[in-house]
């Protein structure tokens, strides 16, 4: 399970991500975020559970919905918020916006707007790790929608035959825009589908951060021992629309309310820590206040940061070798 400090850190990280997302949602509606934004509220335990089991050097590759992964990986609220506002101080120097957060040097191989592509990138990272003989793993995140695109399974297949140190994590919020997973997933059972490639595969409770952490820790040991990939289907739920501003009518308010009140990942961990005597009200209030201050500071930092210099427009577009 981990020490008290580790568990409080997980709780605080989930609270920070929630506050970040709800704040960023409002800023997006106000027109301050360019390029669209996908709110991950409700899915914090998947991100925090995974990152808590990884070492700092381990690599992740993610999707269009990646703020939670990025913050949990250790990127600051300041640099992520600044990137959402496409400021020069952002993670990607203001050139990527919400969907292209990443920094290869820090083991984050990026988010991207192509459904399923994160898996291919994660698999490539795992191949690189294996070729270099490094003692680390790569995590490829994919959504439930990405479970029904071919490239995902090409990557799983290669990882399996080459025994690559890859952990496939389905951030399964059960909807691909307005499409409920059960309507489009033949066979209905994702781990069963993955098992066909001969790798360990299971469904885990994506609202239980400790369960996610344990499952990823096992998968990591398995990969480091040279046994190859693991497939984890983490069932979770997104509280907001697919992208900010979307108010679809494809699910009931009762369903959303049920997940929010009965299965919220933050509430569940807090309740458990209170019950185990590891958390008291004063500490919890202090954490809430410090998270609020951190996000407020991040917004101020982002708003006061400069835009990228137009003179640098060609920077990082290509290798630079073709220009004089």
């Amino acid at each position: 399970m981990g020490t008290r400090e580790e568990m409080l850190a997980m709780l605080r990280m989930m609270m920070m991500i929630r506050n970040f997302e709800e704040t960023a949602d409002k800023l997006t509606l106000r027109g301050k975020v360019s390029g669209g934004m996908h709110n991950s509220s409700g899915q914090e335990a998947v991100a925090v559970g995974v990152m808590s089991a990884l070492a700092p050097d381990d690599v992740i590759a993610t999707t269009h919905r990646s703020h939670h992964h990025t913050l949990a990986k250790g990127f600051s609220a300041r640099e992520v918020m600044a990137e959402l506002m496409t400021k020069a101080t952002g993670v990607s120097k203001g050139r990527g916006a919400s969907m292209h957060l990443g920094d290869v040097a820090r083991g984050h191989f990026g988010g991207n707007g192509i459904v399923g592509a994160g898996m291919g990138i994660g698999m490539g990272a795992a191949l690189g790790i294996k070729l270099a003989g490094d003692k680390k793993v790569a995590v490829g995140f994919v959504g439930d929608g990405g479970m029904n695109t071919g490239r995902t399974w090409e990557a799983v297949n290669m990882a399996a035959i080459w025994k690559l140190p890859l952990i496939v994590v389905v951030d399964n919020n059960q909807y691909a825009v307005e499409t409920f997973i059960e309507r489009v997933t033949a066979g209905g059972d994702l781990p069963k589908r993955a098992s066909g490639f001969g790798l360990p595969a299971s469904t885990i409770d994506g609202q239980n951060v400790l369960e996610v952490k344990d499952a990823v820790a096992k998968a990591r040991d398995f990969a480091l021992a040279g046994n190859g990939p693991t497939f984890l289907n983490a069932v979770t739920y997104r509280y907001y629309g697919h992208n900010v501003g979307e108010k679809g009518q494809y699910r009931t308010l009762e369903e959303i309310e049920d997940w929010r009140t009965n299965r919220d990942p933050i509430d569940q961990l807090a309740a458990r820590l209170f019950a185990d005597g590891l958390l008291d009200q004063a500490t919890f209030d202090e954490m809430t206040a410090s998270v609020e201050a951190e996000i407020k500071d991040a917004v101020e930092f982002a708003e006061n940061s400069p835009n990228p210099d137009p003179a640098d427009v060609m920077l990082n577009v290509d290798s630079g070798k073709l220009r004089g």
Binding site: L29, R30, G31, G35, G36, G245
Partner: protein
């Protein structure tokens, strides 16, 4: 005081057409009440408030093209004024 504004609803949305005011200065409103109807490139959208209170001045007239993020009116809590 809650600012009621034109929400950015799409990646390329820059402004909206103010089609109709459903609540007027001095009207009492509840959280979730629709204050105005706007039209984007793609759809008609209801702009609702999040808090209860009294509607303030209309800052734009019907027919105006209002930039994204711009406040169109406010909802005043008891005792507040514009």
């Amino acid at each position: 005081m809650e600012e009621v504004f034109i929400p950015a609803l799409g990646m390329a949305m820059e402004e909206a057409y103010l089609e109709k005011w459903l609540k007027h200065p001095g009207d009492a409103v509840n959280a979730g009440d629709v204050i105005a109807l706007i039209e984007t490139d793609k759809a008609q959208v209801e702009v609702a408030c999040e808090t209860a209170g009294t509607v303030g001045k209309h800052r734009f007239e019907v027919g105006a093209s209002v930039p994204v993020g711009e406040t169109i009116t406010v909802v005043l809590a008891p005792g507040e004024s514009e």
